[in-house]
């Protein structure tokens, strides 16, 4: 009789491979050691946190969310409130309640609290919105993003309005961002093989059958929504500590679309897709930026005209989607097929691919 191995044993290689890739990138950045390059890598790790966090909800539930960058906004501002020195806050953000003005928390505590704040907000809003599905849910999440953006752009005494808040301690370096990315990958993986994650995926693929089998899709969706809000909130906090400045427009349409594109280009329903999408698109963007700056070829400098970078990245995305409509990873996970301990994982030795192939 075929022995049933646990889902964990069958798929544990996925996060290990992904983390190994991230580690390789981090080590590479350390070896290169140049300032601008490490900044690019840090930004990429933060994007991985965002996209993998987005994936927790979008990938597992199949509902496209335009609203998750609102959680990034909440997280980043929360980090600003918790960590900017009280002296500066009394001047720049006089409307804050006094306990926040006096707060000066260590960075990791504040990042965790920032994530928690995003998660609580998601729990409240999600409780109402998760009843929706399909395009109505997408629009509702977008409306949520617009509400968050409007509030943060106009509540001058608490958020500094459309101007930037400065004075957030710089902290996020390569290893912090790397740890953040690893943390989110692990959370995303743990969620997707959890009972709730599997139930949600079942609901995504066949809502009626799943509901008939006793799955409460709304509840599972809410769980995914809250978890992904937490991870994105933390990512927002790290982003704040990376730039040292936050302003509401950094968390609006631009970042929403770029993260969604990365997710879809990589493969919407697999964690590997989320990570690979970020790595591939970020790499292409970086290469094009270098080209834009110009490459010295002996006496001549080869440079592409300014602005061509964005056009090219758009075209590249279209072409990738044309040939791989379900993303670069075809919604499959990376798995180590030849498990060192010799246990054949499934009938044909090919481990499960959990996306809709």
């Amino acid at each position: 009789m075929a022995q049933r191995s646990s889902l964990l044993a069958r798929t544990i290689s996925t996060p290990i491979i992904l983390i190994a890739i991230l580690l390789a990138i981090a080590v590479l950045a350390k070896l290169v050691g140049s300032g601008p390059f490490s900044r690019t890598i840090v930004e990429m790790f933060i994007r991985i946190m965002l996209v993998a966090g987005l994936y927790i909800f979008v990938g597992n539930s199949g509902v496209i969310s335009f609203g998750h960058m609102g959680f990034m906004c909440i997280g980043a501002y929360a980090a600003a409130w918790f960590t900017i020195p009280p002296m500066m806050k009394t001047v720049s953000l006089p409307g804050l309640p006094s306990f926040l003005i006096n707060a000066h928390l260590p960075i990791f505590v504040s990042a965790a609290l920032a994530g928690l704040m995003a998660a609580i907000f998601a729990a409240i809003v999600g409780r109402i919105m998760m009843r929706l599905s399909g395009i109505a849910a997408s629009i509702a999440t977008f409306a949520m993003l617009a509400v968050i953006n409007t509030v943060y752009s106009n509540w001058d005494s608490v958020t500094g309005g459309t101007g930037s808040i400065v004075g957030i301690p710089f902290y996020t370096g390569i290893w912090t961002a790397f740890s953040g990315a690893v943390l989110v990958v692990i959370i995303a993986y743990a969620y997707q093989i959890s009972r709730s994650g599997l139930a949600l995926r079942a609901g995504r693929d066949e809502a009626t059958a799943a509901a008939a089998s006793g799955i409460d899709i709304v509840r599972e969706r809410l769980i995914a929504f809250v978890i992904s809000a937490f991870t994105i909130g933390v990512a927002g906090a790290l982003y704040g500590h990376f730039l040292g400045v936050v302003n509401p427009d950094a968390f609006y349409l631009g970042v929403t679309f770029i993260t969604l594109s990365m997710l879809v280009v990589g493969g919407m329903s697999s964690l590997s897709g989320a990570v690979i999408g970020v790595i591939v698109i970020s790499t292409i963007i970086q290469l094009l930026r270098w080209l834009e700056k110009g490459i010295d070829l002996g006496s001549t400098t080869l440079a592409i005209p300014n602005g061509l970078q964005e056009i090219t990245i758009g075209l590249v995305m279209i072409v990738i989607l044309m040939f791989r409509p379900s993303g670069l990873t075809r919604n499959r996970e990376f798995v180590w097929r030849y498990w060192p301990f010799g246990k054949k994982t499934s009938a044909n030795g090919v481990a499960v691919s959990k996306g809709r192939a």
Binding site: I64, I128, M129, R131, L132, S133, I135, A136, I139, A140, F142, A143, M144, A146, V147, T150, V151, N154, W155, A207, T208, L253, F257, L260, S261, V264, V265, M268, P305, N306, G307, L308, E310, I311, I313, G314, L315, M317, I318, L321, M322, P325, S326
Partner: protein, 304 residues
Amino acid sequence: MTAILQIIFDALSLGSLYALGALGIALIFGVMRLVNFAHGDYISFCVFAMLWPSIDAAAVVFAGNLPTFILIPLILAIGAGLSVVSEVLVFRRFRNANPATMMIASFALGFVIKHFLLMLFSSRPKSIDLWSNLSLPVEIAGARIPLLQVITIIITIVILLALTAFLKRTRYGLEMRAAAENFTMARMLGVRANRVIMLAFAISGMLAAAIGLILATQSGTADIQMGVSVMLVAFIATVIGGLGSLPGAVIAGLLIGGASVLMQVILPLDARPFRDAFVYGAVIACLLWRPQGLFAPKSTKQRV
């Protein structure tokens, strides 16, 4: 009384813009289930087409110097052309892709168009002098209403009537409605898929061009971002109206326009900067109340 009349005209003219945008998005969604995020960039493209080839800040309008009866058809044709070209080059390959992939592809296309414009014209807003005498007010029942508002509303009504006539009275219109109802079935009954889809794109592009013309006249500037904000609201209106329902899209567009203007007036002064938050809050409430939209076509009802 005059104040109320003013508000009504404000609401109607803003709502008309949203309604035209929503109609453009709903048409395409109807025939190919594509949420076209590039629509806003079509609008900007049409506006900037009037400037080309001048890239000065105070642009001498090149095409804009053409007489009106040439300029308007020209811009409409540019909008239709851009839209059809994007169908042929891009969206045709995504016919069978899932909606998320199509949506991101359309977004990427919009991104390309936007940055193409940025490359040509840079991000500085340009001034456009297009029928500036239209912003002079006229007196209607004691209220001073900018003539342009009246014209916007009239144009919208004319477009709606023409489109209704087209959809209800002509063979192509019939084919398009059939395709929107059930695309596979329509094809089996002899509706040519490519023709219907291209037609939908052409009309949608023309609607974008019309919005571009109105916006440019209204604001007197050409700005890369101008299309996007209309498109987002239009997109929301399409969903609230019931995806695939054309009358629904129009009514929802008018409703959102009306709600924004009304809230600007009735909200207390302190809350006014947060007007959009209230509008979008109302959007969420509306979706919760009727997730399929206010006027959901029967074909989209889930049969479970």
